[in-house]
Symmetry: C2
Subunit: 424 residues, 2 copies
């Protein structure tokens, strides 16, 4: 479908580019024009013309760490610390989940992503083939990352997933990773490192989310999780870490040297009392910082507006500096930096030739007025109510509160409630 | 207008009452029935029957500290510490604001309050007569508190405001207060204390928002702001403080003994890097804790969902205890405790005879599914998108995204932009 957006305020997120008034054209899955108003007739070659009424078009948010299928466990086991929550509540339920459950529950997550202007997710969960099916069926962009740990899958299965899911479908790809140091033994970590070497692939994992995790790793290996992974050669081809809360200066040095990505998850880190990530230090080191919601059972919502405010707010709080991590910097993290971490180099900014992963931010809402600084409004006062449209790969999946993913939302809610009744 | 809400999930917020399925009746400004489904015909004596479709009815949120008229300065002077922001940016602009500006800008704030399910605000700002007019014209409940400081108004004007605005209109009332210790001299504080004694009135002020404020007060008087106010007899008839971030154990003891209210403002405190309030200590002392957004120039949004998540999140983070300040406790703060602090004893819970300040929370949204724990869903994953209706004093002011305050929102946006152009 070819769509012409007119009368828009455009925030390309390309370097040093201010918001300007103009229009944007989409043909099939690509952006074919971004610029000033064009002169030629309104419907020439377009299936649809959308008058943006002065609203903002910008790149969709990249949710750079999540576990979509955990929607079933939202508000199921709150107010518990990470380790207890994981071992006594979550793992036993996950053992009962089927691939079809994952498919349904990931679709429920997709609905919520769309309401928050998220156009791609970096997803680590069970049943990757079913999740890939969810991506293709709904139209959402899933970059999956393997969450292998000592309970499975086998290395052979992991390699097969890596090869099969990376079949070129632009909505579905797969990166190498593992759950975390504390759920893998050394021999497994060595095998994973070898696989990353075989494919010259970047590698991602939960890293230093809690103090306990770091302490136990040091007790076991005399090294922090980052030092251990580095010593195993896991970062030869890049990659990064999720959470990265309790990082030493040496860990930061390793991330800087190896050009690794930090994915910060402040909603989850506050709710589980894990701590505040040293965002200012990461910025000072020039490390690429992306933002993720984490899963809906630890956060509990899949809302990039909440995360953006927390990134800047917690950075200001922990440094005591109200100017730290300003609005535009955080907007960069939530879009361009996320795309970079997830290998979505063609879905980062609004530019001719880039993939059409675009959202429209409604300025005709009281929380966006007056228009003193639109980018800061989005970060400091924006909310899901401002997401008027979410387009993924050229297809509008959410517009004016309606979903277009091929499922009736009420049916998905019903099925999700049935699943939790069965496995809870 | 008499309205019958059927097919609702009802969260009364009365002590120990679980959510139940039933209906609720409103006649004029009061709740006349809350309970199980009634048998009699649907339209008997009702002007309208609203099928809630299983959505939640609960008491509206009480925004217990705000400066509504500051909407003009949203995203105007961000990323600055409190004192610099206040003295170099805000005060000079406020000097140019007219009463009519305040009226318009407060109306803009009302729109946003309604989208966030806020049914009453504890407002401290310039031009109280114009703000009272805003309350009555829009239908929003404003409890104003005087923000007197050394720049004005005179004590005579303050007393006149107190008497005139407390004329019995249920939408508009006025409480005694002052801006903060650091903007008043001792003689003024003594006069304010005397006025509170004359009317046996509770007294509110910004209190210990920043470390600098506390340090300078100790330098000046050898006392913390709380100790100073207490020593001046300011708390003989109750009252409380806004922010209350840097409280000593002795300050907490005073608040406990005098049964004072803490109004916490975590959004503003994070964004201005002011600090984290000791919520757990306040809870341990049995102090009534209410929640406020603070003004839209320091937060920058008027969103109780953001505040609720921050209250629980920051409490969990600062105590290192993921079970601290759980969802239901925070929901209590945002509703019942706020009503208590604001003197709105008849607008606290859903019960026969109480004022009809009611909101409907939409559960037919992905962030509210599945329904494992509805109260926790509201606090941990709720957002403005879930506010389906906001009723204040028996009148629906917001429903399905539409406003009913007697103004065209677009006109208010336009006027707000004109004001900032003039005074900015």
């Amino acid at each position: 479908m070819n769509i012409r957006f007119t009368n828009a305020r455009i925030l390309t997120m390309a370097d040093n580019e201010d918001i300007f008034e103009g229009e944007l054209h989409v043909k099939d899955s690509k952006i074919t024009y971004v610029g000033k108003k064009t002169e030629n007739g309104s419907l020439n070659g377009f299936d649809r013309v959308i008058d943006c009424e002065g609203n903002v078009l910008m790149p969709g948010f990249k949710n750079a760490h999540t576990h979509s299928g955990m929607t079933a466990m939202r508000s199921y086991a709150d107010d518990l610390p990470l380790q207890e929550w994981l071992t006594t509540k979550i793992f036993p339920m996950e053992a009962k989940m089927t691939g079809e459950d994952c498919y349904i529950l990931s679709k429920l997550a997709v609905l919520e992503y769309l309401t928050s202007g998220i156009t791609a997710v970096f997803d680590m969960y069970l049943a990757p083939y079913d999740i890939a099916r969810c991506a293709i069926d709904t139209g959402m962009k899933f970059v999956q990352v393997s969450g292998i740990n000592k309970f499975g899958p086998s290395m052979e299965e992991l390699e097969e997933r890596y090869l099969k899911i990376n079949d070129g479908n632009p909505l579905s790809s797969f990166m190498l990773g593992f759950h975390a140091e504390y759920t893998c033994d050394l021999s497994l970590l060595e095998q994973i490192a070898a696989l990353a070497h075989k494919y010259k692939a970047p590698l991602f994992a939960h890293n230093s989310e809690t103090q306990r995790e770091v302490k136990e790793c040091i007790d076991r290996y005399g090294k922090t999780p980052t030092e251990l992974m580095d010593s195993l050669g896991m970062f030869e081809y890049g990659g990064g870490g999720y959470h990265c809360v309790h990082f030493s200066d040496h860990d930061i040095e390793i991330f800087k040297e190896k050009k690794l990505h930090v994915v910060t998850n402040p909603g989850s880190n506050t709710k589980l009392a894990s701590g505040i990530a040293p965002i200012q230090k990461f910025m000072d080191a020039g490390i690429n910082i992306a933002i993720g919601t984490d899963g809906p059972s630890s956060n509990n919502c899949l809302d990039m507006f909440r995360e953006m405010f927390l990134v800047t707010g917690l950075c200001k709080l922990s440094t005591g500096d109200a100017s730290a991590a300003d609005g535009l910097t955080v907007l960069q993290m939530a879009t361009v930096n996320g795309a970079k971490a997830m290998g979505l180099d063609d879905a980062d900014v609004l530019k001719e030739g880039k993939e059409a992963d675009i959202i429209m931010i409604d300025l005709h809402q009281p929380n966006m007025q007056p228009l003193n600084n639109i980018a800061k409004n989005i970060v400091y006062s924006g909310s899901k109510t401002n997401v008027k449209m979410t387009m993924v790969h050229g297809k509008i999946l959410y517009e004016n509160g309606e979903f277009f993913i091929g499922d009736d939302p009420e049916e998905l809610y019903k099925k999700a409630n049935e699943i939790i009744k069965r496995i809870g």
